[in-house]
Each structure stands twice: as structure tokens, then as C-alpha cells.
Amino acid sequence: MYRKGISLIYIGSLITLLFFLTPAIDNYRYNFFSKKGVAQEDMFYKTLGDIRKIFSDYSYIKADLYFHGGIYKKDEKECAKTEDAHGEDKCADDNEHFHKKNDKLSSVSKISILPYIGEIIRISKHMHLHGKEEQEILPWLYYSTRLNPENIDAYVTGSYWIGQRLNKPDEAIKFLREGLIHNPGSWEIYTQLGEVYFVNKKDYKKALFNFEKAYGLITDKNSDKFGKRELYSFLAASYENFGDIEKVLELYRKILALFPQDKAVQKKIISFQSRPLSQ
Amino acid sequence: MKYIEIEKLYVNYESKNSKEALQGLDLNVYKGQIYGFLGPNGAGKTTTIKIILGLIPRYKGKVLIMGASPDNLSVKQKIGFMPEIANYYWYLTPRELLYMYAQIFGISKKNALAKIEKLIDLSDLKDAADNLMRTFSKGMMQKVSFAQALINDPDLLILDEPTSGLDPVSRIKMRDVIKELHREGKTIFFSSHELSEVEMICDEVAIIKDGKLLRAGKLGDLLKKKGGSTTFESYFLSIIGDNYR
């Protein structure tokens, strides 16, 4: 029994050490290969096959769930309300939470003790993470891209959080470049890359390069109006930095074609029309 | 005093197409007897033993063990049982199993440990007493089974095929132990397929077939009725109506 126990502990320690080292080696390999531009092909993920796309989507949803404190959000209106009450949405103490619960429960017909206990235990409050807490969603975005390197949304969303909310633009750029290795034709990733250079790094030359790349990849078949508007807006701003007003106007007209009722864009067009075409 | 009193016992297992396992069985075992219980396979021997031990929840008829109901806990305190299929917890050693059973009987730790050592000696388990039972052969399990039946120093010992699976030397040892226990005043009720063993040890026998009692009584008296010159084996075959020879 004693010898068997020692063997078990020995084997267990060996396995633990191996697994402890594996992520460290993996991170090193990730850094090394990312620089070299070689695609990452992990045996573990290969063995999962296509099912990893389902896990990848699940991880992406988990990131959203984490942003909402582990609770599935009901609708966008709640999200908007919560954002307006920035910093005040998470309950400061139990009393506030339970008074609110009681208010809700008293408004329906009497319920018995068991459903009442169930309602108390269940968390139903709507919240968003703020400040440093926002980094808690990163693991799921990371896993989402690891499980399915073709999950463009995960790269774009992840880099937004890394670059703009957590102020780590270099990490965001590295992340997006990895995304481009697996998705060389993704205008969304080029757009996001451009945004990181534009907003965080203030490197407008590189920003313009990436926006132009994205613009070259976008086709009419692409139905993402909001994504297109974002790209055109940033590209327009980049051209404005370099004084190319003709291109700025062209882009705002494209936005107006997508969103004819957008008054802000209409005003911008009028404003730019009064300027000389190149400065 | 009647240790086992069974009157018009009917048992039906209540499964589809099942016939009655016991049909009007009458049986009396007195204190201090060695009582043999014989019959072909499926006769109802194990069912009868289960009834005596209170393991069958529903039956018709009268069953009294030492004057009380079979599921009475104070009666069970005085019974030792050795089952036909000797199977015990593979993750225990014989010593641990015996200690567990001793605790169930409420035997103090000191007495239990002394008893266990004695039984391990008696059952020839000294070398294997601290090994997990997962590695035991059928014969060794049978020895463990016998030892656990004696842990509480029972007044009534019920043995179901006690020598099954034992080598010839162990069989002889087992028979000697049973005789010794009988000399100490224990009442022994055992079922067996070994007619020679029954002939050697028992005071009285009962022969059962298809749930019905065919013959019961002292061995000598039963053979006398058949002219005295017949062997027990021939007598048994003639009673159960087997035309094998």
C-alpha cells in the first residue's frame, strides 16, 4: 500500500510538472511562431476536429457572459441602461439586491416558500464589468481563437478589449497578426488592426495602410453595414489626416448610401464640401 | 426446545411463470441436533434457509426461530450463517471483514480481536489474513465464510454447502470442526449435496424436492424402513424418484 501510494504521488507529480511546463512552452512557441508568421497547429486541437468550432462559439458566448457578471443578458435595452449607470450597477450590498427582489415578487400573486427561495438564490441583476475587471473576459476570447483560428469575431472583439479597454496595443497587434495568418482575407481584422494603430499607437501611416487593405478586401456582397461604416469612418479620418479631402468625401457618401438618414454624416459631407479637395 | 419450527410453509417468488418455491413445508429442528437438509438442485433448500434467516419478505405459514420471528434482531444475534456462494467485499482483508462483523454483533474490541485470531487459526487463514480478498480462490473464500459464521459464537449455525470448493484435506478438517461444534452444544442445520458427509455427521435429515418435503427423520430410522441393507445414496435416489441407475 505504501509503495503504491509513493508511486501514485510520483506519477502524479510528473504529470503535474509536465502540464505545468506545457503552457509555458506553448506560450514561448506562440511568441516565436507569431514573429515568424508560421501558423500554429496544435495536436490537441487537431484531434478535436470540427467540434472545436462549437466550443469556440461557446467560448465567445462565455466572454459575453463574463462581461455581464455571469448572467445572460435579457436584451440590449438593459445593457444600455446599465451602461448609463456606469459604476453603480453592481449591488453595493445585499439589502439593495433583496429589496429589489422583494419588490418584484410582491407584484405577482403569492408564491410558496420553495419558488421564493429559488428566486432569492438565482442572480438576476444586470451588470457590466468595468475597469480592470474587464480583463476577466480575455481567457474566453483567447480560447475561442485557439479552438477556432477562423473565428474572426473573436479576434476583432478580443483585440478591442486588449487594445482599447485594457490599453495593451502591442498585445492587440500581435493577436490580430495571428488572426491574419489564419484569415488573410479578413477585412474585419485589417480594420481592427488599423483602429489599434489609429486610436492607441497614433501611428496614422500604419493605420492608413491597414484601412486601405481592408477597403481593398471588402466587396458589395458583404452585408455588414455597421462594419462597413466603421471602416469607412476610420479610413475617412485617416485620409483627413493626410489632407486627401476628395477621398474623405467619397467615403462619407458611401456611408450615407448605407445610412441615408444619418444626419451627422450629412453635416460632415456639407462641411467637407466647403473645403479644398487636397490640403 | 425447537430451534427451528416450520409449519405449512408456502413461498412464491412472484415472478412471471414462477411456481411455488416451497409448498407446505413442515420442518422441526431441536436444540443440539445436526440436521441435514438434502435435495436436488432447485428443490427449495436455499429458499428454506433464507426463510430461516428472515431474508424473504413474504410467505405463508408459521416460521419460528428459537421461538421468535425470523427477522427478530435478538434471534439473529444468536445465528451464524455460511452462504452457498462465498462472496465478500474484495476491498477488505479477512481480518477486517471479521472485525466488521464482530462490531455488528456488538462484540467489544478486545474480545473481537481474540476471537478473530482464534478463527483465523481454525480456518487455516493465517497466511492470508491480511491480504485483500480480491485475490482469493473459491476454497479460501469458503474458509473465510466459515470463519465469519462463527464470529458471534452462535447457538444456531446454518451452513449452506459448507464443504463446496474445498480440497479433500480441508473437507475433513471442516467435518471435524462441525463435529466439535456439535459437541460444544451448538445446533447445526446444513444443506449439502455430499451424501457421504450427511451420513457421517447428521442426526436427522430432511429430503425435499420441488418445494415439498419427501422424508424427514433420524437417518437410521429412515434406512430401517427401507430394509436396513440399502445405502444412503440408493435411499436418496429412490426417494427423489431419480431413475438414473
Binding site: F98, I123, P139 | L55, P57, P83, L92, I158
Partner: protein, 256 residues
Amino acid sequence: MRQIWILAQNTIKALIRKKDFYVFFIMLLVLLVSLLSENFFGARNVSRYIKDIGFFCLWLFSFIIAVTFASKQLPEEIDSKTILPLLAKPVTRTHFILGRFLGTVLASSSAYTIFYFLYIVVTSIKGEGIAFSLVIQAYIMGICFLSLVSAISILLTLYLTLSAGITVSFVIYFAIIWFADKLRAIVISRTGIESVLLNIVYYVIPHYEFYDLRVRLAHSWEAFPLWVLSGVIVYTILYTSVVLYISCSKLKKKFL
């Protein structure tokens, strides 16, 4: 009572000598250490994913141990006929059920306690840790959960085979986790005879969803009030008692 305690001790010995617990322990250790060593874009003190995944795994492993252990108690004893020499001794069928139940609860709770301790140690290394009141609450809820699961698994094996019993236990668990909240919303919103009928259904089903505090632990929500914890403990005791009573009644009528 003595017989119940002795049988319970025997069950714990079985857990120690079978290898299941050690396998799960090593798996959990490897997983937690692996999660701890992950680096996400240089962000420090990212810890909720460890709390979430770690708790999910320890919960799942404890649940598997409880279900498989509890489900095996009766069928294995009956099939291998080890129950016969046991019940031939001054042990009633009620002692047997209660003894095996208690043993399963103690065994699975011991495993849960060790897993939980490991989990708390690992989660306190990185990030914000977990509030003490919530740690205690989650632990108690886990023990209650394992008791309920063990009782129901034992009951199921009196009506089903071993493998069917284990499968149904898992199916019931996942069904409750997925549908109980929706059912409760319906129960609350209805009135009259509909409400009465739905309430009956609601009271009959075992409420596994009460016990899983993973969201609270992982996302640093507050602990719920003491009276709710007491209510859940009372609910567990009552529900488990009813289930065990049915189990004892069923076993008493069973031909062995």
C-alpha cells in the same frame, strides 16, 4: 445506529481502496495548475476563469463519485450476494440502506472536501480570491447536494439496473439544471388551479439548481442570507428523508 455507522465506515473504506478518487484528484490538480499557469496577453490577476472552470470540474467530479458510488451499493451487493451474510446478522434492511447512504455521503463529501480545499488554495494564489462567507456557503451547499444525489441514486437502483440508474441520475441532473429556472418562472406567473398543479410538480422535482453557486463564486457576487441557507438545508433533509423512506420500503419488499 451502531450498524448504520459500521456499514458507513465500510463504504468509506471502499472509496479509499478503489482508485476513482485518486484519478479525479490528479485530474483536478493538473487542470488547476495548468489554468493557473496560463498567460492572457500579459494581463495580471485574471482569475475568474480559474474559479469558474475549477469549480465546475470539482463539482462534476464529486457528482460522478457520488452517483457511481451510490448507484453501485445495492446492485453490487445483491448481484455478488454479499448482502445475504450481512442481512443474516442483526442488520435490518433499513440499517443497510441508511448505512450505505451515510457511507456514500461521507465518502463523496470527503472527496469533495479535498477537491474544494485544493480549489480554494489555487484560486487564492491568483486574483481577488473568494469571500469567506461565500466559501463556507458553497461548501455546505455542496455537501447538501451530494446527500440529495446519493439518496436519489440509491432509490433509482431499486427500480432500475446499475447502468440505467447511473444514466437516469445524470439525465435528471442536467434536466433540472436546464429547466428548473424556467419552470419556476411559470409557477410564479400562474394563478388558480394551474398554479396548484404546477406547484405540486415543482415541489416533487429535486432542486439541484439551488446548490450550484458557481456563478456567485466565479463572479464575486454576494452570499445569500443565512435564512436561505437554512431553508435549503431543511429542504435537503426533508427531501432526502422522503427518498430514503421510499427506498427502505421498496427494499423491505424485495426478494433477495
